[in-house]
């Protein structure tokens, strides 16, 4: 049964959170490490991670460029243009990298996962699996979930790398800032533990969040065409909201 997340009532979000948690437990509790799980996960990493690469890299590059642009605009007034790399780096590693990557991932891969599972539901494939005594959660949902958790941090790293590249191209190539100062400020100012690792923790949490939401909504979609559409919409909406909410929660813990 699908319950629309637009349910009225204060308790509805709590119930939704509970359902997600139960689904997570069902997935993880039945894990049996096997070759087929590994192969399925690997295949899903390709479908979910590798296929998102292009959009992540393009967006990363442009985000880096616009960050550098804005930073230089702001810092020029204080004659502190040299701090560009520091400003870009801090905002990227801590916030923009993990959050933007996760949002893009939710839109591109999250919806694909939800739609695919929802379609399998609508064409009775999930039913058929159950009746063949195959656990569809283990066979279908779990590999996609694991693939998402693994892929999002890697995608975030690539987003960040491309963004720094974009900042380099803009600030050094276009604005003529000194390359040596750029890199040395970056390397001395970005802390490995607070900024870099903090960003990785966030991307792991976001990856788990989006993947869980996507497989849950796909699995509990109404087995109709409209049901699949609702599942994908709900995936994007709930993922986006929870990414930003958890971003605040994690940031306050890290600071």
């Amino acid at each position: 049964m699908t319950e629309s997340i637009n349910n009225s009532g204060v308790l509805a979000p709590l119930a939704q959170a509970g359902r997600l948690l139960v689904f997570l437990v069902r997935m993880l509790a039945g894990i049996r490490l096997s070759f087929s799980l590994l192969m399925s996960t690997l295949q899903q990493i390709y479908l979910v991670g590798a296929r998102s690469l292009v959009i992540i890299m393009i967006c990363g590059f442009f985000v880096g460029m616009v960050l550098a642009l804005q930073a230089i605009n702001a810092l020029e007034q204080f004659g502190a243009s040299d701090q560009v790399s520091l400003l870009v780096g801090k905002s990227l590693f801590r916030e923009l990298g993990p959050v933007l990557t996760a949002l893009l991932f939710a839109g591109r891969a999250g919806t694909a996962i939800a739609a695919e599972i929802g379609l399998m539901k609508a064409t009775s494939q999930i039913d058929a699996m159950e009746l063949m005594a195959i656990d569809p959660i283990q066979r279908i949902a779990l590999p996609r979930f694991l693939a998402g958790v693994l892929s999002v941090p890697l995608l975030t790293a690539m987003f960040n790398a491309l963004a720094i590249l974009g900042a380099v191209v803009f600030s050094i190539g276009v604005m003529g800032l000194d390359a040596g100062i750029f890199w040395s400020k970056l390397q001395s100012g970005i802390y490995f533990d607070k900024d870099y690792l903090g960003g990785i923790y966030k991307s792991l949490v976001f990856g788990g969040l989006v993947s869980l939401i996507a497989v849950y909504f796909g699995y509990s979609a109404k087995p109709t065409g409209a049901g699949v559409g609702t599942a994908t919409t709900n995936t994007v909406v709930l993922s986006s909201v929870l990414i930003l909410v958890f971003d605040f929660i994690i940031t306050s813990f890290l600071s």
Partner: protein
């Protein structure tokens, strides 16, 4: 080819199933005979698929019992159900082939799941069944490359690949052209007799049913309106059975949606 009335393979006693506040099945009793093709028929939405799911253990009855081949399905745990389903083959509506696997992998899925066999044996098992349904060369094709009839036959091969004792068919002829219908019907009869199965078919195609099945139940309004061999049913005086078998609009099975409102009921 005969059905054995004295040794029912499935015993359904006093089965009650409700959804919300609608009673879908109201104290239904069925003794499904062993060894033949049995049809469960009735108007759409009456609960035929529900009965299949109760037999396979996907649903639990609100009261009453479902006993399959000596095992009480209605009270089984997940693990027991897992073992039980090894002996039950299924062919769902539209075939339900796994769209991301080849034909071979589709038919091989139950084998891989329930038995640890060397690859050559798996291959032999799968190819035998594919040949039996006349699709010998298709094993590397993907489901979307098959026609409706071919996909249905692959699904049949998958349903019987583990030589189950019971096969459940949920509206197996939906969306097929007449030639495909005849082909699948004949294959169902052949596999049923060759493997000694009991096939339970949910359908509402009266014409094809009459030619194919050995025994039939007609469900209407949550109860069994009639049962018997196709000939017995055609000759039945029961008005509900008569209405269904002959496709009449007038009869005990209502035309108007029952809203419970007094004024509308006056029109009936």
């Amino acid at each position: 080819m005969g059905i054995d009335q004295k040794d029912p393979i499935i015993r359904i006693k006093n089965l009650v199933f409700r959804r919300g506040n609608r009673t879908i099945l109201d104290k239904v009793n069925m003794d499904i005979p062993r060894g033949g093709i049995i049809a469960i028929m009735g108007p759409s939405g009456v609960g035929k698929t529900t009965i299949l799911r109760l037999i396979s253990g996907q649903l639990r009855p609100d009261s009453g019992s479902v006993e399959v081949n000596g095992q009480m399905v209605s009270g089984m745990s997940s693990r027991q159900l897992h073992n039980f389903r090894k002996d039950v083959g299924v062919l769902l509506q539209n075939g339900a082939l796994f769209t991301d696997l080849t034909v071979f992998e589709n038919v091989a899925t139950p084998v891989r799941e329930h038995a640890r066999l060397p690859e050559s044996l798996v291959r032999r098992l799968v190819m035998t069944k594919l040949h039996a349904v006349g699709l010998g060369g298709t094993e590397e094709l993907m489901p979307h490359e098959l026609s409706g009839g071919m996909a249905r036959r692959v699904a049949l091969a998958r349903a019987v690949v583990m030589d189950p004792k019971i096969v459940l068919f949920d509206e197996p002829m939906t969306g097929l052209d007449p030639i495909a219908i005849s082909t699948v019907s004949r294959l169902m009869r052949e596999t049923n007799d060759a493997l000694g199965l009991t096939s339970i078919v949910v359908t509402h195609n009266v014409v094809q049913m009459a030619r194919l099945v050995d025994y039939c139940y007609i469900i209407a309004a949550g109860k069994i309106a009639g049962e018997g061999t196709p000939d017995e049913l055609c000759a039945s005086p029961n008005p509900a059975v008569d209405q269904f078998m002959n496709g009449k609009i007038e009869g005990p099975i209502p035309f108007h949606y029952d809203t419970g409102s007094e004024s509308w009921n006056l029109l009936q």
